[in-house]
């Protein structure tokens, strides 16, 4: 049987936080009495964190006691569950509650930051005093009331993950496991990994705004190992989104399993390409990793206000052919990188970084927007309450171009198609960037001739942009669970691209003469 669990209980004493009840449990024969919150507070998030406007105003006053250009309180409660199935049984099951408030003061380009996991007034005031030491000006008059901004609707779910029992997740993992094993007799091991996250964020700003966001996230991964005539190969596929359980249709899961198996089995035939410079065709979808590394990071405005990015002095210049338009957009519903509001409480939108080949806009947080005297682009993100925000990407992609995929392949005499990736990296100043190709294809005289595997590709961002010589009309977003790391902070992102030809990149390979 399935026990429907409410996701929080109340004992709404002033100044005390509200507990979440986990999640994870149901149909297991354990029936605990759960007190259901019947209070209907004016703001369910305030109730959730056990604070009220008076408390927030007091903490804000302490935080800005020595002055501030901006200041904010970032309350976060995150409940994460993960499961791993190996050898047909759950080998790891984990649940985690992460709760705290981050307090930030900004003066010009200076930031003071502290956090506390104890949401009592005493602890919050102490953290506020610590963060406030960055400033040495005069006391601000903080708002006494906070106007709640309208909640967003980019990832409304029918059932929050906090209400989904483990009994509803286990069949999915078993299905992936059996489907993978049945796919081919040489499949020898299958690992299925699951995660779901139920995150609540409440941001109170010095400007008197109160922003709340309820963010779901889920990811499912199949990792396949296959053995043939003493040789072993492994590969994987995953899907991720700000979605709920209903998103996991059989069709979606079947497709992921097919991809994971196909990516693994092709490795038995795959070769290393020759080493050196050659044309590279980027397959539609996951190849958006090119945009993330070659230009996206370099366009984050913190690097540019410091002058450390190769793109620092290129605004308004032609950087690519006129059929190249590159966008970062946080407002695509249910994407892994989607956000109703960024982690400073700013509205996310569509930022055109490159428009018809011209460099148009950096990705701004409030600090850089103030310095450049432009509107923020809703790009201020942070990993959690433990970190101060900075400009980050959300969902980065290239618009369709005038060519077709077939035209692009026919145009290549000797080169490769890069199709699946594990990771990438960039040097912001030099502009050199890499991405690691797990699966791809060798192309000779306009024909796909053999599978390839395990090569790193390295290029220079601005050079690669000028070398994008063809863009097809088959743009798509990748459904994989990408995570971006910067200065020790991880955030979920999405990426996409149509089939693209880069006329020359340096491909890692073997068989050097």
């Amino acid at each position: 049987m399935h026990i429907k669990r409410r996701d929080f209980i109340g004992h709404v004493a002033a100044g005390s936080a509200i507990v979440t009840m986990p999640v994870f449990l149901s149909g297991c024969g354990v029936h605990q009495a759960v007190a259901i919150a019947e209070a209907t507070p004016e703001n369910p998030f305030m109730n959730w964190f056990g604070v009220d406007e008076v408390t927030i105003a007091r903490v804000m006053a302490e935080l800005t006691a020595h002055g501030a250009d901006t200041a904010d309180l970032y309350f976060q409660h995150q409940r994460s569950n993960s499961l791993m199935m190996e050898d047909g049984i759950i080998s790891h099951a984990n649940s985690e509650i992460s709760q705290g408030v981050g307090l930030r003061v900004v003066i010009g380009e200076q930031t003071g930051y502290a956090f506390t996991e104890d949401l009592t007034l005493t602890s919050m005031l102490a953290a506020a005093r610590t963060a406030a030491t960055i400033a040495n000006g005069t006391r601000m008059v903080p708002p006494q009331a906070f106007n709640a901004k309208k909640t967003g609707d980019l990832y409304v779910t029918t059932m929050p993950w906090a209400d989904v029992g483990i009994d509803q997740k286990l069949p999915l993992l078993k299905y992936v496991d059996s489907k993978s094993r049945a796919a081919d007799p040489i499949v020898s091991k299958v690992t299925v990994a699951w995660s779901d996250v139920d995150e609540r964020v409440m941001i109170a700003t010095l400007g008197g705004h109160l922003i709340t966001d309820h963010r779901p996230m889920t990811r499912l991964t199949a990792q396949i190992t296959a053995t043939r005539e003493g040789e072993t190969q492994s590969g994987y596929s995953n899907i991720a989104a700000r979605e709920d359980l209903a998103w996991y249709t059989d069709e979606r899961i079947d497709q992921m399993v097919e991809e994971a198996v196909a990516r693994t089995l092709v490795l038995f035939e795959a070769i290393r390409p020759p080493a050196g410079e050659m044309p590279v065709i980027l397959a539609a979808g996951a190849s958006g990793i090119l945009l993330h590394e070659a230009i996206g990071h370099g366009m984050e405005a913190d690097f540019n206000r410091k002058g450390t990015s190769i793109y620092s002095d290129m605004m308004g210049q032609k950087v690519a052919e006129p059929f190249v338009t590159i966008v970062d957009q946080g407002t695509i519903p249910n994407e892994r990188g989607a956000l109703n509001y960024d982690d400073e409480g700013g509205e996310c939108g569509r930022t055109v970084m490159v428009e018809d080949g011209i460099l148009r806009s950096y990705l701004h947080d409030s600090i850089s927007a103030t310095q450049y005297n432009v509107a923020a682009t809703g790009s201020g993100r942070r990993q959690s309450y433990k970190f101060a925000p900075m400009p980050r990407m959300t969902c980065t992609f290239m618009e369709n171009g005038p060519h077709t995929k077939d035209e692009i392949i026919e145009a290549v005499d000797q080169g490769i198609i890069a199709e699946t990736y594990t990771n990438g990296q960039v040097q912001i100043g030099a502009g050199d960037y890499t991405f690691y190709v797990k699966n791809g294809w060798l192309v000779e005289k306009g024909k796909v001739v053999a599978p390839i595997k395990d090569v790193n590709i390295i290029g220079n961002g601005p050079e690669s942009l000028t070398r994008i010589s063809m863009v097809a009309n088959d743009a798509k977003l990748d459904t994989g669970g990408w995570t971006c790391g910067k200065n020790g902070q991880l955030v979920p992102v999405s990426q996409g691209i149509p089939t693209v030809l880069v006329s020359s990149m340096t491909v890692g390979g073997e068989n050097v003469g």
Partner: protein
């Protein structure tokens, strides 16, 4: 502080047992970190944070699960722990999963590891600012500097562990980091950048701020006018400061889980000559003031030195109790501590001199390795080696091959193990390596 945490761990175990767990493990962590970032003559960011966390492992009815929370309010914590047991009961039994047998707790070493520095606990704002200013002034002593960011960070951590079958332990540790990253104007729109930082358990083991900034500037200046090098098969000399990363890739699949799951190229090589005679790697948890030192591992297994590779022969891999049972291998330890890589008697300059021609790698950029096959491909930058000397700076190149094959081509190691890492690795020379460039 440690006594409070011990009480919390004991309470957590009692609560779990009262809720129906047969066995339980609790870890309580408390830490404070202070970071100062100083950029181009001004303090940019100060972050001062105190964090705490309770982690539990629950064994009930042949089932197992793990849980962590930062919400330590006593009432809510009690509920959280009861739920943890309920969650465990909702799983299926896993016959291989048992709490660590107490005999593995025996013979815990009494080595004084000296991981905690009272000086770090007393560091004040004035001292941090003094270091920031010294780093910043020295880091900007070059006409091409666009921006320099200096960092002074330190932290203290207390970790307490207890189990229902008699394990208890407490560890206090500290660290201190000084570093600088420098960006220089290069040709066209390019910037050259690099940096250097040093971390140690004790302030006294961190070099002085000026030496660190000088090194950071030297490394950044070395990147000026870097060009793509040629596609070639040649010798690779890896600087000690980036050798740890290569060792990490080699050892990624050197564990029972990867072997049991069929995803390790180490699987059939135990006891065999898998690599060059020049490769020795010892996992040594008892390095005094070591960054990865410990008296017991996360399962409570008492620490001792573990030879992983001796003169190219694989002696051991990392085996925890769970995958050890599944793979029928006796447990060693489930996770790496300090890794000491065997050194040679030549300096880096001598190694480069002996190499004649090749590539001297000073940083990696991206890339990856397949743990199942050992195939790898990595981006790099560094310098060409020409006639036994460090030549022009190169970047935008890849090195590609197979890790087992690469470490069979390890020709020499230096006398210069990099001290500011949990992996104490020297500079390394590999022959016949495939580079891709122009």
């Amino acid at each position: 502080m440690s006594a409070d945490l011990q009480a919390s761990a004991a309470t957590a175990i009692e609560t779990l047992k009262a809720a129906g767990a047969e066995d339980a493990w609790a870890s309580v962590l408390q830490s404070r970190n202070v970071d100062f970032n100083y950029r181009d003559g001004a303090l940019e960011k100060v972050q001062d944070t105190t964090a705490r966390m309770l982690a539990v492992q629950v064994y009930a009815n042949g089932r197992y699960s793990t849980h962590q929370t930062t919400d330590l309010n006593p009432d809510r914590l009690a509920n959280f722990l009861k739920e943890a047991v309920a969650i465990t009961n909702a799983l299926e039994p896993d016959p291989q999963r048992n709490i660590t047998p107490p005999e593995l707790f025996a013979n815990r070493p009494d080595t004084a590891l000296d991981l905690s520095d009272e000086v770090i606990r007393r560091l004040d704002r004035e001292q941090r600012m003094e270091w920031c200013v010294l780093l910043d002034q020295e880091a900007r002593k070059h006409e091409r500097v666009i921006s320099a960011t200096s960092r002074v960070s330190s932290g203290t951590q207390t970790r307490v562990e207890a189990s229902s079958n008699g394990f208890s332990g407490a560890e206090e540790s500290t660290y201190c980091v000084l570093g600088a990253n420098i960006t220089l104007k290069d040709r066209g729109d390019r910037r050259a950048s690099d940096g250097f930082s040093a971390v140690a358990r004790h302030v006294g083991d961190v070099p002085d701020a000026i030496s660190i900034a000088k090194k950071a500037l030297e490394y950044a200046v070395a990147r000026l006018d870097s060009q793509k090098g040629p596609t070639m098969k040649s010798t690779m000399v890896v600087d000690s400061r980036v050798a740890a990363s290569l060792i990490g890739r080699l050892m990624g699949p050197a564990n029972a889980r990867s072997v049991q799951q069929g995803r390790s190229f180490w699987a059939d090589l135990l006891g065999k000559q898998a690599f060059s005679h020049g490769l020795t790697i010892i996992d040594d948890p008892l390095v005094i003031r070591g960054l990865a030192s410990r008296q017991y591992d996360s399962e409570g297994i008492s620490a001792k030195a573990l030879p992983i590779v001796e003169e190219g022969v694989i002696r051991n891999i990392y085996v925890d109790t769970y995958y050890g049972r599944k793979a029928d291998m006796p447990p060693t330890t489930g996770s790496p501590s300090n890794r000491r890589v065997g050194t040679g008697n030549k300096s880096l300059d001598e190694l480069i001199g002996d190499a004649g021609d090749g590539v001297y790698v000073t940083s990696w950029l991206g890339g990856n390795a397949d743990g199942t096959t050992g195939d790898f491909s990595l981006g790099l930058s560094g310098h060409l080696i020409e006639n036994g000397r460090v030549g022009r700076p190169v970047g935008e190149m890849n090195v590609t091959g197979n890790l087992r094959d690469l470490f069979s081509r390890l020709e020499a190691t230096g006398n210069d193990p990099f001290p500011y890492s949990g992996t104490l690795a020297p500079s390394m020379v590999f022959s016949g390596v495939d580079f891709s460039g122009t």
